[in-house]
């Protein structure tokens, strides 16, 4: 991945910045030019909630390039406290213990790396809420 391509998405991937529609209040994430619900184009900056529940998940055993070190890993669709949904990795959990409906919170993590001299890509994963350790 080129540096500009990684860099320009940082506000949305690392701060989970979204665009909230000024007309209908729908939270567009990832951000769009026009609102998905009403088509308006005036937005305010909005930060996604840090907690949510797991709507569905899958365990990846055949990883794409760059994800070999952490295989198997879990991707999940998370519904946040405000109803916004996002797709990310679920981490810090035993594969056997992962359940639809479980409560999750966000955590800043390394996502993947581009070989020995490429950039390291960071982003937000979700983990079970109130970790015991």
């Amino acid at each position: 991945m080129s540096v500009p391509r990684y860099w320009r998405e940082m506000p949305y991937r690392i701060r989970l910045e979204a665009r909230k529609c000024k007309l209908c209040n729908y939270v567009n994430y990832p951000p769009r030019t026009k609102c998905y619900k009403c088509g308006a184009s005036e937005f305010e900056k909005y930060y996604l909630p840090q907690r949510g529940i797991l709507l569905s998940f899958s365990i990846i055993r055949n990883p794409p390039t760059g994800f070999e070190k952490t295989t198997p890993y879990v991707i999940g669709l998370v519904e946040l406290e405000d109803g916004t949904k996002l797709l990310t990795q679920i981490t810090d959990v035993d594969i056997d213990e992962i359940k639809i409906g479980m409560e999750l919170e966000q955590t800043f993590r390394r996502i993947s790396e581009d070989g020995d001299s490429g950039i390291i890509q960071y982003g937000i994963k979700f983990r079970p809420k109130y970790l015991k350790f």
Partner: protein, 385 residues
């Protein structure tokens, strides 16, 4: 708008064609289609393909195939809508004929996945999803569909076996198809015990990776009898899109683009789902078969397993589903799949399908999908006499 007919079709077996290039595969399917009818000219070629840029280092596929067929200088270009490319090409070809822009249009799909098999093929196919907000997190195409399957089973309590049973049915159908990549029967245990690809999706929930090309030739219905004694009419055709991101969907158990495209195609054809005799649906994974049959109006939501058990998706039931074996058994040469479906429905309606023939089929439907339901094409054909 002129009414449009399919006057001929051709296809190669879906397979790992190590000895054939992208252009040679297309040539083989096109030759079959051109030899079946008396066509003095082709005015344009619309070719569908998804992965050639990644796997065969080739763009400009329209020129490649026009050149291969000695048809330059006709208009020829490629249409891309991920796995829905074939359906998109059919809609483009239909529009060109219907508008009167061209008289005879060849719509063909070609895909050569085995030129770069393994991780690169998986990566290339994954590009149907959102590179920045899905693939970035390590999601694969199978895993995105697995999210739907997990949710479906959670909400409806559908037993895992139902999905295996659909794969069994597809392989039973495909075992009669000389063009199928996997023309053999399996049983429930084989499907249930196959290796995990992305839980809960196992190997036998997935379409295989293979090469293939398919072609249909279109012309105005009013002149079809000039070229051929037997042809079908495209009564309705429509496309639709949905958000690229699964996270933006209101409902994970329904693929809205299928509903929209199907409703528009039914309306254009002036029929209802009850009028349809055979369908070729886009079962990339067994879960997409379940959801698609519901969204197309052949099955109440969440009742897929019940109807499957009752034989509703076999000849004599509600609708004969994928007599070709579908993506599961016929195979899924991604960009070409939508054209395979159109060729197969044409073959069925003309009663030329041999051992896979579904008797007395008058109306057939194709359902071709790109991404996880993010780009869908539905077409409806009727036997013309």
């Amino acid at each position: 708008m002129k009414r449009v007919a399919i006057i001929s079709y051709g296809m190669t077996k879906v397979d790992k064609h190590w000895d054939k290039s992208l252009r040679r595969l297309f040539g083989e399917a096109a030759l079959m289609a051109m030899n079946k009818v008396n066509i003095p000219k082709i005015d344009a070629i619309i070719v569908s393909n998804m992965c050639a840029s990644d796997l065969s280092d080739q763009n400009n596929i329209g020129t490649i195939v026009a050149d291969e067929l000695g048809l330059t200088p006709i208009t020829a270009y490629r249409v891309e809508a991920a796995c829905g490319s074939g359906g998109a090409a059919l809609l483009t070809g239909f529009s060109l004929v219907s508008s009167g822009m061209f008289e005879v249009v060849m719509v063909g799909g070609v895909e050569k996945l085995t030129d770069n098999i393994g991780k690169m093929a998986t990566f290339s196919l994954g590009k149907a999803a959102d590179a920045e907000y899905e693939l970035f997190y390590g999601a694969t195409f199978a895993s995105l569909n697995a999210l739907l399957m997990n949710r479906y089973m959670h909400v409806y309590g559908t037993p895992r076996e139902a999905f295996a049973d659909f794969a069994v049915l597809m392989h039973r159908n495909g075992s009669k198809n000389p063009y199928a990549q996997l023309p053999f029967e399996i049983n429930r245990e084989i499907a249930l015990n196959s290796e995990f690809i992305a839980d809960p999706i196992r190997l036998y929930d997935c379409a295989p990776i293979g090469d293939g090309a398919a072609v249909v030739i279109l012309c105005p219905l009013e002149v079809a009898s000039k070229y051929s004694d037997s042809f079908v009419e495209i009564m309705g055709i429509a496309g639709a899109s949905d958000t690229i991101n699964l996270g933006s969907r209101d409902d994970l158990l329904s693929l809205r683009a299928t509903i929209t495209a199907a409703n528009n195609a039914y309306k254009m054809a002036r029929i209802t789902p009850a009028d349809v005799d055979i369908v070729e649906i886009h079962d990339t994974f067994t879960i997409t078969a379940a959801i698609s049959l519901e969204d197309l109006g052949f099955c109440e939501r969440g009742k897929f397993d019940k109807l499957l058990n009752e034989g509703a998706f076999e000849p004599g039931g509600i609708v004969a589903v994928n007599p070709s074996g579908g993506l599961k058994s016929r195979g899924h040469p991604v960009g070409a799949t939508g054209v395979y479906q159109a060729a197969e429905i044409t073959m069925q309606l003309l009663e030329e399908a041999g051992k896979m023939q579904v008797p007395n089929s008058e109306i057939g439907l194709t359902h071709n999908m790109g991404g996880v339901g993010s780009n869908v094409y539905v077409s409806i054909m009727r036997r013309a006499r």
